[in-house]
């Protein structure tokens, strides 16, 4: 399947400084459809030459990365389950800081808050996030 992939916001530096890649991706054997999930795995193993944590976190893209499929936000098309077709254009645009993705920060963000404060503040934060006047 012929696809055009574009990388922006600094992501092109992970793919040998090339912003546009015209690629041919084959669906997984046994399937006839290509989903975004498969494409992400393919990009990570074939195109991203360094610092894969800048591109993916878990099985999806890292927060702060905008993904557009044919100029449409991928979350409207089904996120990871979006099915891709021939000649689709997929844009990966990084809009959040580079340094945020460093692995040590991701794992230590909770340790930074002392346990004492955590036990008192956590219930407050939980109700805060739920929306007090919902």
């Amino acid at each position: 399947m012929q696809l055009t992939l574009e990388f922006g916001g600094g992501l092109e530096l992970l793919c040998q400084s090339s912003k546009i890649h015209n690629v041919d991706v084959k669906p997984n054997p046994g399937e006839d459809k290509l989903t975004m999930r498969d494409l992400l795995a393919w990009v990570k193993s074939n195109l991203i030459k360094e610092r894969p944590e800048m591109f993916m976190k878990g099985d999806s893209v890292r927060p702060g990365l905008l993904v557009l499929v044919n100029d449409c936000d991928w979350e409207l098309c089904g996120s990871l389950d979006t099915e891709l077709e021939e000649k689709d254009v997929v844009v990966f645009y990084l809009y959040l800081a580079w340094w945020l993705a460093s692995v040590c920060r991701v794992t230590t963000s909770v340790e930074f808050i002392s346990p004492y404060i955590l036990s008192t503040v956590l219930p407050i934060v939980q109700s805060l996030v739920a929306g007090v006047c919902d």
């Binding site: 916001g9 600094g10 999806s60 927060p63 702060g64 905008l66 557009l68 100029d71 936000d73 645009y93 809009y95 959040l96 800081a97 580079w98 340094w99 945020l100 460093s102 920060r105 991701v106 963000s109 930074f112 808050i113 002392s114 004492y116 404060i117 503040v121 407050i124 934060v125 109700s127 805060l128 996030v129 739920a130 929306g131 007090v132 006047c133 919902d134």
Partner: protein, 308 residues
């Protein structure tokens, strides 16, 4: 619209850093002003903190915006106002707490610049993600006074220049998409000193929340707006700074306090909690005492009680 941010004929200064939020803000304000005849007098105001490799590049972007949108530009610099650039400050105090200095100085610099332009209002590009992070940070720090103020769409109405955040409910993602599709010209690198900022942790948390439940950001802002503090809580009173006449709740405003620390070679002055109104002497005493103590010093402070 419900917030009645502007009136016709007002002079409005747009705080422009060259980043995506301020570029979109400048574009949207000038478009709407033109399309609906708001009758606003718009200006671009930019602050030069003196960070080489970052600020000089983003200032170029702002100059391009000046030409593209046809809005006059004024640049105020830390060097002119305070006699210190951020690079010099970081050399003096190290890599921690830089954002405190920069943020305090920038707020004053923007107000001074807006006063020079004889502006009635100042608008900044803070988006929903920023406000949610601020609410979270104020909770984690126990800062009740700021918590009650940070979610207002217009702050400082009783001060010299009111400050508005028209993008208060706009997600950062929406701003990025707008800039992308309108092909707006902006500068996308982050400040080189920001990796050590406390705000980064709040931001990481907010981003993960957004991934799981996008409405969480708006919910946090809503909760922040609806906080009530007990009436028995002692809140700091607004007065004026003795040295520069700026608004302050202590004898010396934060900027004067920080500057004093820099000039005297006491980089920790004004950082952390200072009890009582005479923070200056207290800090010097504490510094002398601390060298005698060997244990760790956990500064926990109860500003008042939360009632909600």
């Amino acid at each position: 619209m419900d917030n009645n941010l502007f009136k016709p004929g007002e002079r409005v200064a747009v705080a422009a850093s060259g980043g995506k939020d301020s570029t979109v803000l400048a574009y949207v304000m000038s478009e709407l002003n033109r399309r609906h005849n708001y009758g606003l007098d718009l200006f671009l105001l930019s602050v030069d903190e003196g960070i080489t490799g970052y600020r000089d590049d983003s200032l170029e972007t702002v100059k391009r915006n000046e030409i593209e949108y046809g809005l006059p530009l004024k640049v105020v610099s830390y060097k002119d106002l305070y006699g210190w650039t951020m690079d010099e400050i970081v050399k003096t105090i190290g890599l921690k707490n830089n954002c405190t200095f920069c943020g305090v100085f920038r707020r004053q610099a923007l107000d001074r610049g807006a006063a020079l332009l004889k502006a009635d209002k100042l608008v900044t590009g803070h988006n929903a993600d920023d406000i949610a992070e601020t609410v979270l940070l104020n909770i984690l720090r126990g800062d009740i006074a700021r918590l009650s103020r940070c979610t207002f769409i217009t702050t400082g109405e009783d001060g010299p220049i009111p400050r508005c955040k028209p993008f208060k409910y706009t997600y950062e993602k929406e701003i990025v998409m707008y800039a992308y599709f309108k092909k707006l010209d902006y500068f996308s690198t982050e400040c080189i000193y920001s990796p050590n900022a406390y705000r980064g942790f709040a931001r990481e948390f907010i981003k993960d929340l957004e991934r799981m439940r996008p409405r969480a950001i708006l919910d946090i802002i809503r909760s922040g707006e609806n906080f009530r503090t007990a009436t028995s809580t002692k809140m700091p009173e607004q007065g004026t700074c003795e040295r520069c006449g700026y608004i302050s709740s202590q004898k010396l405003c934060k900027a004067c306090l920080l500057l004093e620390g820099l000039n005297r070679g006491l980089p920790k002055l004004g950082i952390g909690r200072a009890r009582g109104t005479n923070g200056l002497n207290k800090r010097v005493e504490q510094r002398n005492l601390r060298s005698e103590r060997t244990g760790s010093n956990i500064e926990s402070k109860q500003c008042g009680t939360l009632d909600f």
